[in-house]
Subunit: 251 residues, 2 copies
DNA sequence: CGTTGAATTGAAAGTGATCAAGGCGTGTGG
DNA sequence: CCACACGCCTTGATCACTTTCAATTCAACG
């Protein structure tokens, strides 16, 4: 329900596969590259809501790619508190190249019912032999890193009100990249508690700031659908600058 | 002055070059690999304190490696606030593979007088042809990412007191990896303001929490030298778990 | 129509921010 | 050689954004 396949801009550019769509936002992938990616994602498995896709301490046997639904990368503190360090949407890697490390240092949970592609490591290696794809994969890694840095800024130096607005601006673009956002709206199948865990806030406070965002006429949020009423005003309010996402400007 | 070359465990394992020392903590590098790394770092330049090593919006011409001194990766917000997203110490890359992106989305500043190696991109490519080194370089990238995630947790879910303690625990290990920390102490040539910018706090509050850390007998901090009076108590106080640094346990 | 998870609302308490001033050490210039 | 300046660390008092704790409303569902 939360993740009805709306596919706003589906036919855009081979957006059947979100990974292809995402990587397509930076390079013009050759047909063979696309096919290789699609083929690598052939083993798709379903994961129930609130189920861990991967647990802290595990050594992943595959590389996981989000195909449908949302997931959250998170860490649990000794006192039980939870911090989400990333929202994973279709097209995102859960653990690219994590084989190199001994074990996961955090967990990943499906926050909606999700479909995840299980890609064998050899397959990734094979993909890496295609020059365009290595670059694209590196691009994805570097952007993930940039998103982490922006996340730190968000949590560290922005007010709760701004941080939430900023998060929405980011998700808007990232979802656009995979054809899952319209010009001003997208599915946001995320509880206020998850937003709180992502931004280091309490659910109560998130609720209040959302109300303020609404009453200021910046957003509308109902039944898991977020509508940005005034994109430029929301960006300005949060100090959002999309450059860190390194996308060929389209939004 | 702040960064006197103490080289606590210098002769450890070819620690003349901090990059070699760091990568040596995960793989047994072949002599030829070490030489290749050392050779790649031949062009070392000095950077004055408070000078930018790289500015937001630039396209780096080289890959930069910290050889001596400290630097900070940071972003400036529209309102002028600053958030540091990483401390770079000897052995750290400033911008590995950043060529793939169009331009820097943040800046890097030397926070002490520093020595930085300028490595041409081709040189990095050449290094990547050595299987052990590619792995080691990937390891470094993945650990950098893990550090970013831990940073988010620090800023988002820990109290100021805990966050500062946690930061010290992390730096302790990272500096040990490059032979720049003794069992219980290391140079910390960082102002309280920098710590504040790193953790999303105010200098005033950092000052107060440092005092508390001191009066609780956990640390001693004088003239840029931090002494951890009780390593395990400091780790416990901050909920520090070193696993995210993915080091062959030595500390 | 009762159950359940999530969203709301209220009041009180706190951690950390702000604003302002004073102390300290060091390097520089008269 | 001492005075002054500058950067950084300290300290105090006050303010406010967020948290806590608790209770209530809502909406989807079986």
């Amino acid at each position: 329900m939360a993740t009805s396949p709306k596919n706003y801009e589906s036919g855009a550019d081979g957006a059947e596969n979100p990974l292809v769509a995402k990587l397509g936002t930076v390079t013009n992938l050759a047909p063979r590259d696309r096919l290789a990616l699609i083929d690598a994602c052939r083993d798709v498995r379903e994961v129930g809501r609130c189920r861990d896709i991967m647990k802290d301490g595990e050594k992943p046997e595959h590389v996981h790619v989000m195909i449908e639904g949302w997931a959250a990368r998170y860490k649990i503190l000794p006192d039980g508190a939870r911090q989400i360090t990333a929202f994973l949407v279709p097209g995102d890697f859960c653990d690219l190249n994590m084989t190199i490390l001994d074990e996961m240092d955090h967990s990943i949970e499906a926050i909606t019912h999700a479909k995840v592609a299980y890609v064998p490591h050899e397959e990734v290696k094979a993909l890496s032999r295609r020059p365009k794809l290595v670059r694209a994969l590196w691009w994805a890694t570097l952007v993930d890193e940039a998103v982490l840095r922006a996340w730190i800024v968000n949590v560290g130096r922005r007010s709760a009100y701004q941080a939430i607005a900023h998060l929405f601006c980011e998700l808007h673009i990232r979802l656009s990249n995979v054809g899952l956002a319209a010009a001003r709206q997208f599915d946001l199948p995320v509880t206020q508690e998850a937003i709180a865990d992502a931004l280091g806030l309490t659910p109560v406070h998130v609720n209040r700031m959302l109300q303020r965002l609404r009453s200021n006429g910046l957003i509308q949020l109902r039944q898991g659908t977020l509508t940005i009423l005034d994109v430029s005003r929301l960006r300005q309010a949060s100090g959002f600058n999309p450059s860190y996402l390194h996308v060929k400007q389209r939004v």
